[in-house]
Symmetry: C2
Amino acid sequence: MKFKNKAVFFAALFTCTISIAQTHKSLEDFKPSSVNQPGKAFPQVNSEGRVRASILATDAKKVQLDIGGVKYDMVKDDKGVWTGESAPQDEGFHYYQLNIDGASVPDPGTKYFYGAGRWGSGIEIPAVDQDFYALKDVPHGLVSENIYFSKITNSFRRCFVYTPAGYEKDAKTRYPVLYLQHGSFEDETGWPTQGNANLILDNLIAAQKAVPMIIVMDNGYAYKPQTGESAGRPVSVFEEVMIQEIIPMIDAKFRTIADREHRAIAGLSMGANQTMRIIMNNLDKFASYGGFSGTSNYPSSMEIDPTTFLDGKFNDGAAFNKQIKVFWLGLGTKEPNPFPGSVGAFRKMLEKQGIKYTYYESPGTAHEWLTWRRSLNQYAQLLFK
Amino acid sequence: MKFKNKAVFFAALFTCTISIAQTHKSLEDFKPSSVNQPGKAFPQVNSEGRVRASILATDAKKVQLDIGGVKYDMVKDDKGVWTGESAPQDEGFHYYQLNIDGASVPDPGTKYFYGAGRWGSGIEIPAVDQDFYALKDVPHGLVSENIYFSKITNSFRRCFVYTPAGYEKDAKTRYPVLYLQHGSFEDETGWPTQGNANLILDNLIAAQKAVPMIIVMDNGYAYKPQTGESAGRPVSVFEEVMIQEIIPMIDAKFRTIADREHRAIAGLSMGANQTMRIIMNNLDKFASYGGFSGTSNYPSSMEIDPTTFLDGKFNDGAAFNKQIKVFWLGLGTKEPNPFPGSVGAFRKMLEKQGIKYTYYESPGTAHEWLTWRRSLNQYAQLLFK
């Protein structure tokens, strides 16, 4: 993880301060977003994917809708209600905020989601394929909050565990496990909330497109406790926590099939990078990998030397193909730099090494949750078969 | 439920617009609140229970901290950061908001909680007895999100289910169940989030003060689907959903002891009112009741006529005492009207009827979550013994 680069990347992504006045004529088919708070009429979304926000701020001088890296000026009516619209947004889920006289705050109309390093507002632009992650009348698995104390980090941690429908019923059936990680500036709530991981699997399993599986969603931020005044940059110990604490806990607490063939790992962005390192360092633990919008050569687009990259773990393509059941990469067609370049360089290396893998492109999506929902939907269908 | 009265009550509670300038001298031992977002320094709380909030709002004219029904003016520094303090607050958890130039918004420093009919900010004032609801290194149960489709309401609903530590381990042990309800303008997230129900039970069970039990936390708002243009006021069907859908689902999905002796019900405020009606109408289903800051004669303080109240269900005290294992009432010493009056009138009726019950007073707390955490802590120790 290159924190410095990440910080620059996110600064670029989130603090663009262009103000755009409302000059377009929007289609008047706005409907409340599906992730609004109960009973809240705003924000709304129209069929063009424009977001219309509205807030009472009687005495404000300037109110803006801050979405997709752009701040859109809102307009006040005679009752003090400010309303404004964004340009059309990509299909899927987006984080956003309101800006009231210089204060960046969540929109009181939406539910809140952890992303971009904060709990903030979210909006759902209906997608052409939204059925695969919709809440439907199929058997539903449970999502359990599991709190544990980590000796390695000397702190309480938490993971969410999806158990498929029927898990409680038959106390003898054992299940394979997918370890599924969020991206940078996100946490363990990402996949079971805006990721809809549980609904995606409920739907796949009901349609018999995926094998019933357990999914473990933990927090990718884990640091060695710092002691003394000479403490330097925090040292990530997520791999140690995963291997020494999370997996043994899950295998003890849930009815898992506790071998490498029945254990997969995947992650998005930073999580793709982390989990690739974890599987390649622990091939006795996992047999399948999914990298959603990320690879471990991030952020470089340079040609990869397989003799040195990740200690030569990709150097013997034939051995790799024997050991790995599913090696899967996904990317949105609208992802910003450096993702197309770094994932592209990684794929070139795989091909040069004769390594078998599946590649998926999510049409019309960027470095956002619809890319990752679709990636999970594709990837999960290949696992444990 | 008297919605009209509730609305008036909440309006009084939440929209008081007194502005209080900062004239006191606070103790300078402020610390970040325990329910802040990760890494957020504000809001803070000092040993007097004062809340200090802070937000960047460069161009704002007026920013206020809105807590406990009072709006406190905040003061701007030369960098555009507004800071302000409240008067000392009661121990425990409180909902609050910021007001920026007339816009009521959540404080971007805190995690968010559903209460007062919205997702908004919360703050934790350390309590003298906070140990009983603290996250400690004891075995932790799981809190599971359970989604289901209700035919009665024709909608998806959700409950959270606490299963005690060890539930997964021994697939043969069966457990008693407590059905635990939130108050008005709250939802099923209240008890497992700001209620700390899981931590309270984790601690009680670890100390062998409570029997390991399952807790089901559902949403008390459930209405008959409205059809046609003549649809009138929505009709609550929560009792039907509880009896016909929730209990059968829980008994089928979890390892419960499915008889009345091993089923208890409790609720806070509106939930106390609802659950009292449910147990008295369904004595074949439940044997124990807990009413936290509420009774079914709410909001009346008039003398209760047991021959007519709830269809005479309290009329035969001797029969009542034979059927009910635990009948429990709790109230904070600082609760506002009408709670002391209505709970008082209810207790008088119980005493007149010779009905055995336990009464608990939470010292120094009002109609808020510390009263209810303490109530659960007391009540749970008496159950299923």
